[in-house]
């Protein structure tokens, strides 16, 4: 049974001006134990909203339109905020946020913030016990427990802060970890050690599966088992890493890979934003394919007919004309 299941998820925002923005449309995927799914897409494609949805944090102005999210078979939609806070967040689904090294409260020691997480999810347990547990955990994940736990964020390097955040997020052994750009703005050496740490945790079973979000496709190649490409609130392609990277079928994916592969030989990785045009405005209802205005292979029919997911060569593709 998959650990994590997202079934035809649709989420929308209600803005102050009365607009409805369909930020996530028809997203489906599942995660097996030990699996890493990478999600790539340009800014504004709906990644953040999807993340909130995956964590069960669907609170106004974000609303569920339809669909379900299940962790270990149990649905996490339509539960009260208190329920989500206590039972889902950090316990079942944990987040390692973007810019994690700024996510620590500057006036609180690491061990205190970590203790807060435990205290707010479990009842009982003396301070001593909790601190002992933290020390044990941090040592296990390869950090100098005493030095790090008793420090304030300002006393730690960016890399150490990032790893502290990873340690805190995974304290309660969640089943799914969502890592949102965990290595951006870090230097290359630190990036490597952070990735190494994340995978050690995965292999040790601290957490069971991961969603890795980034727009650095070369990174995904090393990290993900499967990759999903997101555009304008939809998954446009989803398949095994090798296939997505070396044999993309969706025009958008192809454009992204084209931008990447051309940079690869000996050059620094480029962000795949060299596609002309901009994503559609999701407040207006869109007929036909969302990528049509920018698609290099666009046909007349694309603008009229909504594209559904098809299976093409062992991957899911949202394009009637991909082959």
């Amino acid at each position: 049974m998959p650990i994590f299941d997202v079934i035809d998820l649709n989420l929308h925002y209600l803005t102050r001006f009365g607009d409805t923005i369909h930020a996530v449309s028809g997203v489906s995927f599942s995660l097996e134990k030990g699996e890493v799914l990478g999600i790539a897409g340009e800014s504004g494609c709906g990644k953040s909203t999807l993340v909130n949805g995956c964590m069960g944090l669907i609170i106004p102005p974000l609303y569920p339109t339809s669909g379900d999210v299940r962790v270990g078979g149990e649905s996490i939609m339509n539960r009260t905020p208190q329920d989500i806070r206590k039972n889902v967040l950090a316990r079942k689904v944990a987040m390692i946020p973007q810019g994690a090294f700024n996510s620590l409260n500057p006036t609180r020691k690491i061990k205190d913030m970590a203790a807060d997480v435990i205290a707010d999810h479990e009842n009982g347990g003396s301070k001593k016990d909790i601190h002992a547990r933290l020390r044990e955990r941090f040592t296990m994940i390869g950090m100098e427990a005493d030095a790090v736990l008793n420090a304030f964020p300002i006393q730690l390097t960016a890399g150490m802060r990032q790893r502290s955040v990873i340690g805190i997020s995974t304290l309660l052994n969640p089943q799914v970890v969502i890592a949102d750009e965990p290595t951006s703005a870090l230097d290359v050496t630190t990036q490597k050690s952070v990735i190494k740490m994340i995978f050690e945790l995965l292999h040790k079973g601290i957490f069971s599966s991961m969603i890795f979000i980034t727009h650095e496709l070369p990174l995904l190649r090393h990290v993900a088992d499967r990759i999903a490409i997101m555009y304008a609130g939809e998954f446009v392609e989803l398949g095994a890493t090798r296939q997505i990277i070396f044999d993309p079928r969706h025009p958008y994916t192809r454009a992204l890979m084209g931008a990447m592969l051309s940079a690869e030989p000996g050059q620094k990785q480029k962000k795949p934003v060299a596609i002309e045009g901009a994503p559609p405005n999701l407040a207006k209802s869109i007929t036909g394919c969302r990528f049509a205005p920018r698609c290099p292979q666009v046909r007349q029919e694309c603008k009229a007919k909504k594209q559904e997911i098809r299976i093409v060569g062992e991957r899911q593709v949202r394009c009637d004309y991909a082959e």
Binding site: M55, L57, I84, R85, K86, V88, L89, A90, R91, A94, M95, P97, G99, A100, N102, S103, L104, N105, P106, T107, R108, K109, M113, D116, V117, D120, H121, F152, I154, Q155, V165, I168, S169
Partner: protein, 355 residues
Amino acid sequence: MLKRHPTLHYILTRAGWYFLTFLVAVTINFFLPRMGPSNPIDIIMAKVGSGLDTKAAKEKEEAYLKEFGLVELDNGGAILRDESGNPVRTPGWKQFRNYILMSLQGDLGTSFLNYPKKVTEIIKQAVPWTLALQFPTIMLGWIIGNILGALAAYRRGVFDRLFFPMALLLSAIPFFAFGMLLVYQFGIEWRVFPAIGGYAGNLIPSLNWSFIGSALYHYILPFLSIFLILAGGQAIGMRSMCIYELGTDYVKYAKWLGINENRVLFYMFRNAMLPQLTGLALSLGGMIGGALITEMIFSYPGLGMAVLTAIQGNDYPLIQGCTLLITVSVLLANFTVDILIGFFDPRVKAGQKGK
């Protein structure tokens, strides 16, 4: 050793710094008034010496000079004279030295106006009133103002929209202006509260209920005039800080971690308070000054009134004594706030390590 005790290091550094400031303040306090053209003795003489013939006037003048340490004395206590028989004036630096020595012994000189009353005596009577008014007012104003500001930031909505412009208006009114308005409206027009004084005119300060009751009654208006404005100003600042903190990454992360809402609020409040404390340190001097002016308006028998009457009567020793005391209290207060900041904000102490 100091490296391993950042707290101690911090306290000692700040103490040293404030001591330096104190030295500068004492020096300024002494020399500034003396830099002017007018001679205090002449002013006294103008008042006292009229109608006396030259010899008697001269004797009186010399008696005053002697009294105020402006002339050199020999061992027997008689005035030293130069060849023409004029008394030898004490040089400035010697006056300063004598001043310091005397002050350390608790003698701040003799008041001109209330001669022969000692300055310290006059100050001693005034200080309790000032302390009683300023200390609770400033503390309560600061605390409550910050709490209200945090609430406004967190709740937004109607409370905020009503509260914000009101607080903005209040915070911009100068202390004395508000004091005057209150005195006029409530003290004279509507006669709800007494307009002047610390207590009813026919009572003598003593520890009985009728006196205490009267004192409290007279306390209300001056208290309000400082408190409301202070609270308004703090609320505005705190509201901005909290709005900022609510949008920070760590608050978002804490929420993602499923940390209790109340705890998150507490994080935010505590972090937003730090710049407010710093702001407090910066404006303490101004607050105390403003409170003093309020005392003057209400003819409240504290240091404010003492300074006012001293100024009006050119009573230099008293002016100096008061300003010295005011400066010292401001320095002490600032020092306390600095220590508090160091206590609450670990970044300050940790920042020292990096040096």
